[in-house]
């Protein structure tokens, strides 16, 4: 199969048929190759059992579950607040976004998700967008490195480091942030944080442009990515893809626009979509999403209610003693607050019986929480819709017909994280 045919036939299934025809008399015994679970290109512990005919893949069977920790079982056995640290460890490249997604799901169950204080909404949006940049930067760096462009990885990791510093300034932790609480945030951002974000954005715009000059029109990069791993829009919808992978296939669906939550409807940003649905489109969509995140962040630092230092004392949590912890000084001096704190800590937030689903536009796709509550402070059943898990299910159809050297490229372009996939 020559490289010219690669570009002529965009549909992977048709390409597989073509390859089979071309190689009819050369076809011999198939070889089974076990890729992973410990392989640098699988970004974690994904195992793929590949059936090969020469260098062409004839069958791919992804095997997930090596990182299964039983998060859904754990959630059934603790209060809503106690589960927040576990959400850090879902998509561990964007813990802040996971915290926000989970908090919003529980708040939807409580019926307070649209009553959050404005300052809290803005801070949460900034957290989400910083997390998006951080996750895309890792995805991009690892993607480029798997394809042979190591320099990009060094650039993106320098920038990620700054986002970790910002997360640390806000939440006290770099990775296991657990920044949100049911009904708000556990503390306000430090007064200098907005300036730090501004500083980061200025530097990041430069290095994003630099990373782009290294890749977007790089002949080697384009040749390897174009017309590879083509997902048509019908196929993307049928397989339930979400996030940049869905939009890369030309489906204009972003939950921040379609089902606006927090203050996204007050902010100006565009949703990039691809046209062909190949690896290159998915790469371009992620690049543009980072630029749109920069745009959102600039608006947020300018518009944040209360200003950077919050001299007027805008709340960052719903001031309801039955949902969020009261101030410590009040707990030590007032009976009612003492009772509230005691009840919240021992029994958790008292949620009504009912069931809700909340989908959040996470960097990897739609992170959804389905909460089935029978009342009280503990979920009866908590199902996590992990975007990486669903995005990976397409591999069995995407890979046949590709060369074995295309595997790291396709995996990199799908940008998954196993901590979330396996839960």
């Amino acid at each position: 199969m020559s490289s010219v045919q690669d570009i002529e036939i965009r549909d992977t299934a048709a390409r597989a048929a073509q390859a089979a025809d071309d190689l009819q008399d050369m076809q011999g015994e198939r070889m089974v190759l076990n890729m992973g679970p410990s392989h640098p290109a699988t970004h974690g512990v994904l195992r793929i059992v590949l059936e090969l005919d020469g260098e062409v893949i004839t069958k791919a069977d992804p095997d997930v579950g090596y990182l299964h920790r039983g998060d859904e079982k754990i959630a059934e056995n603790m209060t809503y607040t106690q589960f927040i640290p576990y959400t850090d460890r879902l998509d561990y490249l964007a813990p802040l976004a996971n915290n926000v997604a989970y908090a919003l799901a529980v708040e939807k169950l409580l019926g307070i998700h649209d009553k959050l204080p404005p300052r809290c909404q803005y801070i949460r949006v900034m957290c989400c967008e910083l997390a998006r940049i951080s996750a895309h930067l890792l995805g991009l760096g690892a993607f480029a490195m798997d394809t042979g462009a190591v320099t990009v990885f060094l650039l993106t990791f320098t920038e990620r480091e700054k986002i970790y510093n910002l997360a640390e300034a806000a939440s006290g932790a770099r990775l296991t942030t657990s920044y949100t609480r049911i009904g708000g945030l556990f503390r306000d951002i430090p007064p200098t944080w907005c300036d730090q974000v501004r500083q980061f954005l200025k530097e990041f715009e430069v290095s994003l442009a630099e990373a782009e000059t290294l890749l977007t029109r790089n002949r080697i990069w384009v040749d390897r990515l174009r017309d590879l791993g083509v997902i048509s829009s019908e196929m993307a919808i049928d397989y339930g893809l979400s996030g940049p992978n869905l939009r890369g296939s030309g489906v204009d669906y972003d939950l921040r626009k379609k089902q606006p939550y927090l203050c996204y409807k007050d902010l100006q940003f565009d949703i990039p979509v691809g046209s062909v649905g190949d690896c290159y489109d998915r790469y371009l969509v992620r690049m543009e999403e980072m630029r749109q995140s920069i745009r959102i962040l600039w608006q947020c630092v300018d518009k944040i209610p209360g200003g950077a230092a919050n001299a007027v004392g805008e709340p960052v949590s719903i001031p309801d003693g039955k949902i969020t912890l009261p101030p410590k000084a009040k707990v030590l001096s007032s009976m009612e607050e003492l009772i509230h704190q005691f009840m919240l800590v021992t029994e958790g937030v008292n949620c009504p019986p009912g069931e809700v689903y909340f989908g959040h536009e996470n960097p990897k796709g739609e992170l959804g929480f389905y909460i089935n509550s029978r009342g009280g402070g503990v979920p009866y059943r908590l199902k996590i819709r992990a975007p990486s898990f669903i995005n990976l299910s397409i591999l069995g159809e995407l890979m046949p017909g590709c060369m074995i050297s295309d595997v790291p490229v396709i995996l990199g372009s799908l940008d998954f994280v196993m901590g979330e996939s396996d839960r």
């Binding site: 397989y239 339930g240 389905y370």
Partner: protein, 192 residues
Amino acid sequence: MSALESAQQLKAKFGDLVGEPAEFRGEICLTLAAADKIQEVAAFAKNTLGFDFLVDISSVDNYGEDPRWTVVYHLRNLAANTELRLKTNVSEEKSELPSVLPVWRSANWHEREIYDMMGIRFSGHPDLRRILMWEGYPYHPLRKDFPLAGKPTDLPNVAFTKPAPLEGGPFVTVAGGGDSIGREPRVRNPEE
């Protein structure tokens, strides 16, 4: 077409099979009385009502109640931007319902996961294997009668075979206990 109108169309088409649409926090939820019909209802929802995107399939173990299982489908109409939740109950003796894989291909891994975690089988699924746990694992860990600490498995040298050391641990809370003893952190073990 709003989600409620779609729900009413489903009700008009399938009559008593579909219960009254229930609304909670702006989400419409329909209960399907006969789980055997799920594939037809799903096909109608997709082909006629435009619910082309299967967001998720979840399962609930109503331990101690009959029917024991609830399977929950989240559907989305991308063009109209509406969502619908479809639920159906399956008894413990049967523990089987038709697969919706012919309708949405994304159901493949969702159904494998439910089979793995809850032990509900999907008839017509071409490849119903475990997905998160390893092949040959004897239990279904998301069932309510499976203890949080785990169980020893019959497969030594495959993975850990002893329960995790958290019995009476400080971070395990039981849902809905009425008094302080009921709420006291304990590893749940309904067999005892």
